[in-house]
Structure formats: C-alpha cells, structure tokens
Symmetry: C4
Subunit: 266 residues, 4 copies
C-alpha cells in the first residue's frame, strides 16, 4: 500500500507557504504547528496514511478508533499582510528508515500541486540541558534564504553544531529542490527527551513563524493547549515504543515488565 493521501477538499491557494510540524524531539514542531492550525482555525483538507506507521489503531475514551495519520490544513490570508498557508501535523513519522523518503516525497509532490514554493519545517534540537530562553536555530535549503529571513530571530550560525537533521524536517528541505520548493528548518532548542513536550521551545518557534506569515496569534493558551494535545501524542509514543521493543526483543526473552506487555494482534 505504501503511502496514500486522501483529499477531502481542493482549496485554491495563492502562493501558500508550507509549514510542517510532525512528532520529534520534544515534540516542538508538532506543538507549534498544531497550535498555529488551531489558533488560525485552519481547515483540514487532506489526510495521509502509510504502511510505514505502526499497524494499530488507538481507542479514544469514547471507544471510537483513531488510525495514525498526518493531516493537511489550509489557511487563506485575510489581509494583504498575511500569506496563505498549508500546515501539516500528525501522529507519527515513519517507523522504518525507508519510509521517511517515501512519505516526504509524497508530501512534496502533493503541496507542490497547490503552487507551494516555500516551506518552513519545525523541529526540536536536543541540547541535553534545560534552557531558560531556547534559541531558534535555522537551516536552509538555499543560502539566499539566510539573507531573506536573517532578521526575524533565527540563529543561522549553528550549522556545524547541529550536524544532522533526521526525519521529515530535514528530508523535506533536502528533497524540496526537486520540486522547486525552498525551505527553512526551524530547530527549537530543547532538553531532548522525546517524551517531555516542550511548549517553551515551541513558543519561540511560533514567534518566528508569525513574522514569516504576517499573522497575529495569541500565545497565552499555549501551555494549556499543550497539556490537552500531549495526552494523545504521549499515548501514541508509549504504544509505539512498546511495540518496537517487542518486535526487537529476542524471542523467549521476557519483557522488563510483564504487565506492560502489548498484546500483539487483537
């Protein structure tokens, strides 16, 4: 099956900027993009699902099932100051190395159909320590973007320190040029444990993004929203981790905590 995108609506967009925030280090990108989509009341218009996500559904309290997916939202500019946007959020990235390329390629092909020429990918950068005011570090697909976005609070001097960007946020930039989409990756500094969401770091990223897209959003509700939002993300992560551990444990060896055992295949 590989990876499929199901379109719910075909919006007409004017030179939209693409903003990606999928789960990752500190969930910084996921929090920032999710908050942005919610505050702007952006509208969902497509869903992506993939055989590179874990093969299970999660149950909500209500007993309704939730299949892992990525979701595309759009926002149409309300004044000349603003820009049209496509925002991508989701439950999961690929759980195997090959899937990242496939999913990122599908995403780029899809957003390019809407005339997208520029993107911002949002991610966390693990620094190992708690930081009072996290910096927003930038990486670019094209040096001219450093000039263009050099004065809105992005640190473009940390390339050597960062070294690599693993997963969708990096590959989107790397493969974007094959679709004529230039991009900036915004990396919010964070402690780096994936399980602890970092709203502080997400907030710093949002302060940059609003300058890019010319939109004002209220950042006051961020911490509260993060708590709601994270409940579900943490659940996905926890099940995913247990599944992976089970798949990688040599047969015959018992899990560390027998009670935590995931019953494989319902």
């Amino acid at each position: 099956m590989a990876t499929k995108i199901v379109e719910l609506e075909k919006p007409k967009l004017n030179n939209p900027v693409f903003i990606e925030g999928l789960p990752g280090v500190g969930n910084v990108g996921r929090i920032a993009a999710g908050y942005l989509a919610e505050e702007l009341k952006a509208k969902k218009f497509a869903e992506l699902f993939s055989s590179h996500f874990m093969p299970f559904v999660l149950l909500h309290q209500s007993s309704a099932v939730h299949v892992l997916k990525n979701e595309f939202y759009y926002y149409k500019a309300k004044s000349k100051k603003e820009r049209d946007m496509i925002i991508l959020i989701g439950d999961s990235q690929s759980v195997d190395p090959e899937g990242h390329y496939e999913i990122v390629d599908k995403i780029l092909e899809f957003v390019s159909k809407f005339g997208c020429k520029e993107m911002f990918t949002l991610a966390g950068l693990s620094v190992g320590d708690q930081i009072k005011t996290p910096k927003v570090i930038g990486a670019v697909s094209d040096p001219e973007l450093i000039k263009k976005y050099g004065k809105i609070g992005i640190d473009f001097d940390a390339g050597a320190r960062v070294g690599t960007i693993v997963g969708a946020s990096g590959l989107l930039l790397g493969l974007g040029r094959y679709y004529s989409i230039k991009g900036v990756c915004l990396l919010g500094e964070t402690v780096g444990f994936p399980i602890i969401p970092d709203p502080k770091s997400a907030e710093e990223i949002l302060k940059v993004i609003v300058k890019v897209v010319g939109t004002k959003i209220n950042l006051n509700k961020l911490e509260k929203k993060v708590k709601e939002m994270e409940e579900f993300i943490k659940k996905v992560e926890s099940v995913q981790r247990k599944s992976l551990e089970q798949l990688m444990r040599p047969p015959g060896e018992k899990p560390a905590d027998q009670k935590e055992k995931l019953s494989y295949i319902g």
Copy 2:
C-alpha cells in the same frame, strides 16, 4: 508480489455486511467467523495470498500441500430478516508491520466493490485471567454506531481500558472510512495466550453477530468444531513461531531445543 486476491466467483450481493475473523489473541475472531461461515454453509468466492505471510506450505496428512491464505465467503439472505454477508477467515495475518496496512487496504478495496457499507471485525482482548462469562467489548469507527448497536449486548464503555487494537481488526476500522465503510470491532475477553483457543469467548461474539445479521445458528457444535478447526491453526502458529525465532536468533547461537529446529528451505 505483495498481496493478491484471486476471485473464484463474482456473486451479486445486496448491501452485504462484512465480517472479518483472522487469527489473533485466543483465536477468538477466527473461531467465531469460521463457525459462522460453516453453519451458514457460506460459499467461498475469493482467496487472498501475500508475500507478508511466512514463505512455506503446510502438509496435510494426505501429503497435499496447503499454502497460507485468507478466504472470502459469501452468504445470501434467505428472508427479509437476514442480511447478505461477506465473511473473511484465514490462516495468517501479516508477519511484518508493513504488511498489515497493505493487506487491509486490499481487503477494503475488494469488499467495497460488492457494495459493502458496514463491517464487523472479530477479535480477542487479552485480560490475563480466566473469565466465566466473557464480555464482548466494542470499538467503533464512528460514534453513531454506538447508538445503532447499543442494545444487543456489546460493552461500549471500555475504550480507555482497551487502548489499542493491533493488526487487521483495528486497521480495517481505521482505514474503512477511506472506502466509506463503517465498522464495529467486537473484542471477546479471553485469557490471552494466543495458543489456547477460546470457544467461550467466540460464542459470546457469535451471540452478538446473529442479532446483527438476523440469522439463527446452532451454537451447540461450537466446542467440537473448535477442536477440529484448531488442530490446523495451532500447527500454523507453531511453525510460524519457530520460523520467527530462527530468523531472529543471532547466528551461531543454538536453538533452545535442537530437535525442534526447523529445516529452513526444503
């Protein structure tokens, strides 16, 4: 090769309900769906095979080979009280994570061609203890199904306790909406060792299913049938487990019981 469905007949069905019961926890779903197909004398009309099943054939006593497959049966309603059905049973689910999505997608695409709009997926829920009267717990792809099927003995209040549904029974519900098929997953409580089949739990599920499809079936022969049915399913499971152990054992390390060694590639 991926996954192929071979059609043996093209039945015309009237708004059929799709019922899935593949191997899983306590083989509850497999037993219930298999018994239903047999009691109704449902007719096989398609077979699915996949490179995500283990690459071997089993030998019957007669020296005839049996290749792992899933089988589609249909049943045409004999009165206005009954509903047409497509019943899916089989020897195996995908043995790797990616295969689940591919197989489930193929199944949904296939049954949607017959006008299927509703499905029931049958599975077991591991509870760790022997239970005298196992409950049938429900999960839904759409909350309105809780209203529709709230009064036929399904417990729709256990979502939080269940948490996740791994494999086909869950993914069919999760991906079903992309094919406009709504679904209920019926989870029969069971001890949870996959090797011990649980006819009691399957019976409770069948009591629910007959109300859904308006058909009467005799449940007296269930335990006897289970014994016949399980002989083969246990054999598949046992060989599959040994194969997986062998594939995952570090080279050079000997299997726990040398005599149990599976001779890889005949």
Copy 3:
C-alpha cells in the same frame, strides 16, 4: 528492482513439464536438476535475477565475475516417449522471507506462458541421520496426482512427518493452482546439513524423474559431477552465511574469527 527475468530465446514447447531444483537442504534438488540439464544437454533460454539475492558478485579463478541468478533451460522431446521440459536451476533462493513469494510468482507466470501444466519441484528432507537408501517422499498440490504418480517409487504417505516445505519448492506447489499448474514435490531424504551435498539422495530423485519424463540418462557420472558442481555452490553458501552473520551481528561486536571478516562493499 525486485525480480526480473531476461529471455535469451523464445522456444516453442509442447506441454512441457517444469522441473525446479534450487539450492536447499543437502542441495539435493540443485544437484538432481543440474545433472539432468547437463546430461540432456538442455539449452539455457532465460535468466532470473533479484534484489532478494545477496548484493555481491563472485569471482571465478579467471577474474570474470559471476552474478547470482536462476537459470531456465529447455529440452525438446526426441521421441514420443519423452516429454518437453523446462528445468530451473540456480545459485540462490531469496535471502529474506518476502522474496520467496515474489520470485515464485514470477517463475510461475513465466513458465505458464510456455503452456506448462505440470511441475516437479526437487528438494531435500532433513532426517538427521545418514541413510543408506534414501527414500523419495512426495507432496502434491492436488490429490489426483498421488494416483497418477503412485507407482514410480514415490512415498506419498509421509505428509504428517514432513510437516512443512519452506522456500520455492513448497510455494511453487502452493501458488501453482493460481496459474493452473499442478505439481509434485519430491523430497529426497538426507542428513540435513545444507553444506554437505548429497548425491545419493539426488540419485534417488533422478530415478523417479526419468520415469516421469520418459528419458534415459546415465547416472554413473553423478558423484564426479557433484564434486565439480558443488565447489561453486559451497562458495556462494559460505559467503552468504558470512554476510548474513555480519548483517545480524550487533555493531561493535567482533566476528568469531576476525580473519574471516567479509569486507562489506568493495
């Protein structure tokens, strides 16, 4: 790339019987089919290569490279007593579980184009002990073949003892019916160490095969030929084993014998 078949010639064949002998337990099938092709001066007409084989080439003494492949030969009957044949031999089977299905499906699709309706797959059956006169055990895709071939020295009563047939010899029979090809698997009893070739067991299989195809071949040169043939097969196996061990060894851990280290990627 998956799996490709390159045709060198398009022979016209009359109801050919397909005979498969790829590497496996005791290399019984490979030896028998290879000897048959050589004695009959059968002509190569197609080659199969696959990304499911190990990614290396072997070097002959002459410094010419040898890429792993499977080879199709044909033989045209010289009298009414004989039957046309397609013989498949090769260096390797799939090294991952998924590849077996894909390769077998390609093979069946290919030979069915030549009007093939019947096949014999040749393999070894590991029995753990040296046996003076190895039996030839049969498995069938269709019980009527037991009647048809019941009187030419095949033991059709050992199904329960065999249990499973892993790899191409089994799957060809299992998937053959989707291409309307019926088949018998001939399993020659052998000790079961894959590295020790067993010409005795191969000879017993050849005695059966000549009765099936109505051809006479001289079996005297078998042991001598086996020695020549096996040199190369053992080399493939040895490199394959080392490669797999290296791929599965946790990084950082040294191989048992440092000198045996395979330099991965030339």
Copy 4:
C-alpha cells in the same frame, strides 16, 4: 519512493565510457573518481537519490542542508585521443541489501540511454596490511576485456584471492550484460579500514584510468584534495555508523558513549 534520477541536462555523448566511484573500502573508488571529475572539470548533469540511503540531511558550516545523493558528471573528449565519459560519484551506497540491486539497475538503465557500452568501476580491496605500492587488481564481466586491457598495469590474476565484490562496483559488472555494457572493476589494494581514506591506492587506480580514457591529469594535488574531500565523506560515514548502531541496539540498552547519541528525528 525507491530510487529516482533527476536530470539537470541532456548531454549528447559519443560512445562514453562509464566510470563509477562510490564510497567503499578505503574510499579508494570515491577518491579516484572524484579527483578525476574535478581535474577534468566534468559537468554534473544528473542526481540520484534513494530511500535506501539514511533518512537524514547533513548541515554544512553555512547552515545549508545536504541531502545524500549520487551525482553523474559528463566529460566530452577534446581530441581524438580522448574518450567521452560519464563519471558517477556520491555520498552513499544503499544501507540495506535490497537497495544495491535497485540502485545499480537504475544506474545501468540511465547510462545505457547515453550509448554507454563499456564501464570501469573503482573500488578498494582490503588486504589487512599497509602496502608501499598498492597493486590494481582487475575483475571483468567478460574474459575478452582481459585481453583488451591486459597491458596497462592491471593485475588480472587475483580472481581467486578476491573472492567477492560486494555492493555497486561488483553488481554493476554483474548486471551490466543485461544492458549490453561490458565492464572492468579496478580494485586498489588498501589496508581496509573504511574510515581511513587511501589516496595512494586511488592514485594507482587513476594511473590506469588515464590510459583507458586517453586523458592526462595532474596527480600532484591528490593528497591535498583528498583531505578536503574526505572531511565530508567521513562525516557521512560517522553519522551513518551511529544511526545503524542505534537502529540495531536492543531497546533499553544504552549506547557505549552516551554523549555520542544521535538524536533520532529532529
């Protein structure tokens, strides 16, 4: 997504010889081909990227991202003594066994479109010891090439000692005949630690290559260039190794050096 080649220009070439130098043992091939392309001011005309490379981007000092890729360069002969060339260099080979076949097949299909009939693949041969004057050992896809290129400093008598060639340099030769491209693999003797680049061995290979293509290049700058070139290649290798180690480490087990931890998914 698998593997894609993006064409930047469509050069018209006259019977070009294809020269491949991807990372491998001692990076001998990569160094030789990279130096050749640079000295000849060959022009890049296509890029290959693949889901079989590691799913990350590297950051340059400038904060510009670098996606892993292979690059095709062409060189047009400036006199009748010279030959047109296609030179392939790159950051990575496939990190999984299956990818090698797919990538090599794509490369062969691509270069055959430009009328390529002959190729030289450049690689290192691990010999375990420092060698003062490394030999250049040859392997061929066709014995007639031994005659054709027997007198330009290639040792064609070491086939048995080499045994196998793993990865692109070997498979290109092995699969080349399906595209009517004959080839020689030049293996420069080297110590064999992949992390230590070996300009000495690369130099010996270049001395052979210039005779093949009839071009003169200045070899004096080789050691200096190698130092520049290798900085980046070593970085890719180091990240790749850490990623692989992390993917293969049993969950729960800590990496040898906690500080070296690669933060998976930014």
